[in-house]
Amino acid sequence: MCGICGVLNLNSKPVSAQVVEKMAETIRHRGPDQNGVYTDGKVGLGHRRLSIIDVACGQQPMPNADKSLWISFNGEIFNYVELREDLERRGHRFRTRSDTEVILHLYEEHGEECVQHFNGQWAFAIWDRKKDRLFLSRDRLGVRPLFYTLNNETFIFGSEIKAILACPEVRRELDLIGLDQIFTFWCTRAPRTIFRNILELPPGHSLLVEAGRIRTWPYWQLDYPQQNEKLSEKDWAERLLELLMDATRIRLRSDVPVGAYLSGGLDSTVVTAIIRRHSEARLKTFSVVFEDPEFDERRYQREAVDFLRTEHHEVGITGEDIARVFPKVIWHAEKPVLRSAPAPLFLLSSLVRNQGYKVVLSGEGADEILGGYDIFKEAKIRRFWGRRLESRFRPLLLKRLYPYLGNLRSQSQSYLKAFFHVGAEDLANPLFSHLPRWELTSRIKGFFSEDLRTELRGYSALEELASSLPAAFASWDDFTKSQYLEASCLFPGYILSSQGDRMGMAHSVEGRFPFLDHRVVELAMQIPPQLKMKVLSEKHILKRATTELVPAAVTSRSKQPYRAPDSASFFSRGKASEPYVEEMLASARIRHEGVFNPTKVGKLYDKIKRGGVIGVKDNMALLGILSTQLVISQFIGNQ
């Protein structure tokens, strides 16, 4: 795994190698092993390398044989062995054993269509000297990040936004619509970012800069085709397991040792169990444990460790730890966050690195593609209730769904009806499944300053999303619709980014995700919804496929979403636990930045400081305000 960056001057002015070097330096954490810069007149490519495959010879930027192509690549092409064999049969000669060189050869063969052949996670740029064009691409699901901007006549790109901001001419401004999106969806929706004029190349997209123009297009999209082939549950389960076995096998390809995250949930246990099937070698696994039993899963982690005989390492997390590392978390995430959940993952990657590991496999993606999240169940129950609103028993299912949310237990039906949006109008809304979450989150925009609210008048993140849904969306069943909304929004924008790539790469740790092998994803998109969520049993088909692989205690446990202590982490004995908290939330500071209303922030601050009942909304508000203030302080400053 690595970091990439580069500059292309559309007006043909020469690029300064020092600027590219400076850009690369900002993302040193992504690749501490080596750095490389290539410049050729109007173009410059930068690279920071984390050596994993062909440690000795995989330096970048890397040229092809006649040096007409130069690549800067972040990621892994897991099927590079098979692709290379095929290319060699067709006369291609290789100088290294790296997957990077395979990309160059495949680009020589297929041009921009080369990406269709890759099985992996990537963000890369290829400078094509002969055709005088720059080609960029990002993997199908958005595991690896890629950002770009056009500044006057200069095209600038980077794995992280801080590399782009290293160019002195790039203006640093908050994108207010991006901020509105985060305070709705917990993340921005690509191509928008939290920085004005800096764009994210969406997952499954490629980009070409040619003849002074920038063109982007999707080469792959989430789709849920009708499955005409009548397969039995057993057949689907077998196909799924077969592909998962292979997806894991090729993700073990590495010249350095590979470990695994083991959360205590089904998905990471399945991945670890499959690794065990492929290799008898010693396997290190890693997890977070929480001091607070409300969030802790160590009981299940230990069941899995005993069953799978791994060498397990834990990092214990307290609220103080979260508050201590939070500014660094925001520096790496490069966007406001509404939850503290990235912080423990930041500390976990530090543990992995300290154990001498650079690569970990995990179960990321299973919940999205196979229907694991409570939000899918919640939508099913809400729809069931909404069809007979007068039922006294149907809403009780909601209370059963969230046994860990004590505040729901004593709520009357009329309140549940209002909070869970089950009216006729809600049932007809295309965003039905996510309305309770997004409506509740949107309430925290009440903390925006009057000026900001005036600027945003007329903009609705929900309306924008509803009007940009794919044409096929209306034809999908309800469960599929909710899966799509989750997989296209929160997943790339937050889970794979703020909790994923950014927290791993903060300590130079690469995550690999067998459930995100596109063959697995494409199969999952065809599995009938009733086999993913059987009545209210989540990921039913995965449980069925892996019964023999994982301990029964893990399969039969009720799903616990990964959560971490939120706003209470930042206070201790009625005071802010870290000086920066008080500094960032001080009335004068809030007034100066102008994003939030200082009076309201002051009252929220006092309320949380006092302790007592603090709800989801207040937690999100505090985290959102604090992290936005940190983003402004760390990236925008006094321009």
Binding site: S412, G446, N597, K603, V613, G615
Partner: protein, 103 residues
């Protein structure tokens, strides 16, 4: 329940003020104090969520020394300043009755 006034109307007014002040501080965070009418619905105005109900119940129990039963947590009792004040008053009167007329 404490009151600085002497008449029934004044006591009700004090009660409403205390509830208003709690709602403005905890759900509105100081904003729109003047815009919130006593009869405005907390639900329809998006002022309250599932945790907010619990905060409100905790406030009523602590400030007015009352026990709020689960079945009483319904919008008819808690969805506006007016409704909350009437609910607290009813509960308080019932308590005094059950206590043989002693406060």
């Amino acid at each position: 329940m404490s009151s600085t006034g002497t008449g029934k109307g004044s006591r009700m007014h004090t009660l409403e003020s205390a509830i208003r002040s709690f709602i403005v501080d905890n759900f509105l965070f100081g904003e729109g104090e003047n815009g919130l009418k006593n009869e405005d619905s907390l639900l329809e105005n998006g002022l309250i969520d599932s945790t907010g109900i619990l905060e409100l119940v905790a406030f009523i129990q602590q400030s007015f020394k009352l026990i709020v039963e689960d079945e009483e947590i319904v919008p008819d009792n808690l969805d506006s300043i007016d409704k909350i004040a009437k609910f607290v008053k009813r509960k308080d009167e019932a308590r005094v009755r059950n206590n043989g007329g002693k406060p």
